[in-house]
């Protein structure tokens, strides 16, 4: 029985168009490091909060409770980074807002495969990164793109690396943002990555994937490098976005399916 099952399943799998493994190990290593770092940071943060709480309690007991602390700078409470503001009310970024904005920015074509972050505990969760996914068909089948928006204290390091499957090109964009174009030659989930880091700490990672669909149809990249960079560098991305856009997105995508975000 087991042999029959295994043999038949192996034969069927052999007929499946299995995409290349890509930089699975490298990505897992990087995600694992972030996860470990976050666990340490969380421990440190909890300890700091406890100490801070004790100090505040001491101040209150000491009779200073009536004083008002000076207001914190806008956008610094969470990350210690200043966030660019634009006119009009702002709301925290959502997955729906990312998908909604991507629909506006992507070239014309039917869209599908909308998704929000899943249950991963890596980069997305760790750094409070928002995530959205969408596929666009420009006449050659659906091509999926995934966008992450978060904040980082330092930009991607553009130094040397030992990954033979990875090529990186770095540049400074006209608006002053730092750009890293990464190509993983054998990773369909990150065939092309536009990594934009702004001086205010906002970091946008934009993945253009080329994985095969389950029916074996190859997905061509939906965007050129120029198009991907333009979208990644869109000024609307940030920990907060225009409130009207966020509200409209919530109406259009009230219940995005969970995908799996790294």
């Amino acid at each position: 029985m087991e042999d029959d099952f295994h043999t038949r399943l192996a034969a069927e799998l052999d007929n499946e168009p299995e995409p290349p493994l890509g930089d699975l190990v490298g990505n897992a290593l990087r995600q694992g490091r972030r996860l470990r770092l976050v666990r340490r940071t969380t421990t440190y943060a909890v300890g700091t909060l406890v100490v801070t709480g004790v100090l505040i309690t001491g101040l209150i007991v000491g009779g200073r409770a009536g004083r008002h602390a000076p207001p914190a700078a806008v956008g610094t409470a969470h990350s210690g980074l200043s966030i660019a503001k634009s006119p009009g009310p702002r709301s925290p970024i959502t997955s729906a807002a990312i998908v909604y904005r991507l629909k506006q920015l992507l070239p014309p074509g039917p869209t599908s495969d909308y998704g929000r972050a899943g249950t991963g505990t890596g980069f997305g969760t760790a750094f409070g990164t928002a995530f959205g996914q969408i596929a666009v068909d420009r006449g050659h089948g659906p091509g999926m793109v995934r966008l992450h928006v978060g904040t980082l204290p330092i930009p991607y390091h553009c130094g040397s690396h030992r990954d033979a499957t990875l090529t990186i090109q770095c540049a400074t964009l006209p608006d002053g943002a730092q750009l890293a174009i990464m190509r993983f030659s054998d990773d369909c989930n990150q065939s092309l990555v536009a990594d934009v880091y702004r001086s205010n700490g906002v970091n946008v990672l934009f993945d253009v994937t080329t994985c095969l669909t389950s029916n074996g149809t190859a997905n061509p990249p939906a965007l050129s490098v120029t198009e991907a960079v333009a979208i990644a560098d869109d000024p609307s991305w940030g920990p907060t976005m225009d409130s009207a856009l966020v509200a409209a997105a919530q109406q259009e995508f009230p219940d995005l399916p969970r995908t799996f975000n790294n």
């Binding site: 029985m1 087991e2 029959d4 099952f5 295994h6 038949r8 399943l9 069927e12 799998l13 499946e16 299995e18 995409p19 493994l21 890509g22 699975l24 190990v25 990505n27 897992a28 290593l29 995600q31 694992g32 490091r33 972030r34 996860l35 470990r36 666990r39 899943g118 249950t119 991963g120 505990t121 890596g122 999926m144 369909c188 989930n189 994937t209 994985c211 095969l212 389950s214 219940d255 399916p257 969970r258 995908t259 799996f260 975000n261 790294n262």
Partner: protein, 161 residues
């Protein structure tokens, strides 16, 4: 790269492909399988220093992969990749329309599918599957039997007898 990293890379390079295939059999989506495997390996890396090397790190990786998959399924909005309609048996259909075993697996509930994949694809013992899934040996036995019956019904063949 530290010794710890080198050990992990060696392990992940050796077992990543088979873990991803197992993930694919569970979820039927290469994108998701890639992400599930990456996350499982990342969690394994985070625990690497705490692992007792008398234990089997591959079993730990399988457990993390399985729990990540089941957790995803619980939170996921029923995005199953299955065929739209299922005949009672494949005898009623033409050979061209016959279900594949992969398709038939997609009709099992996620946990039952995981049990079948672990038991008959990964060749894990009933006891090991029970430990991985977090249930009893009896449940694994009965669910395996029921799942195979369901697969036979779907496939309408003498296979899996």
């Amino acid at each position: 790269m530290t010794t710890r990293d080198e050990e992990f890379v060696e392990f992940a390079s050796a077992h990543g492909p088979s873990l991803r295939r197992t993930a694919y059999l569970m979820c039927r989506d290469w994108h998701l399988a890639q992400d599930l495997t990456q996350t499982a390996l990342a969690k394994l890396y985070a625990a690497w220093g705490r692992l007792n090397w008398l234990d089997n790190p591959l079993a730990y990786a399988r457990k993390v992969l399985l729990r990540t998959f089941l957790d995803h399924q619980r939170r996921h909005d029923a995005h199953e990749l299955v065929v739209e309609s299922v005949p009672d048996t494949a005898h009623e259909t033409s050979p061209e329309l016959r279900l594949t075993l992969l398709d038939a697996l997609g009709h099992l509930p996620p946990r039952d599918r995981a049990i079948v994949v672990l038991r008959y694809w990964e060749d894990q013992s009933i006891e090991a599957v029970a430990e991985l899934v977090g249930t009893t040996v009896s449940v694994v036995k009965t669910q395996s039997m029921r799942s195979l019956t369901k697969l036979r019904q779907l496939l309408g063949e003498d296979l899996l007898t």
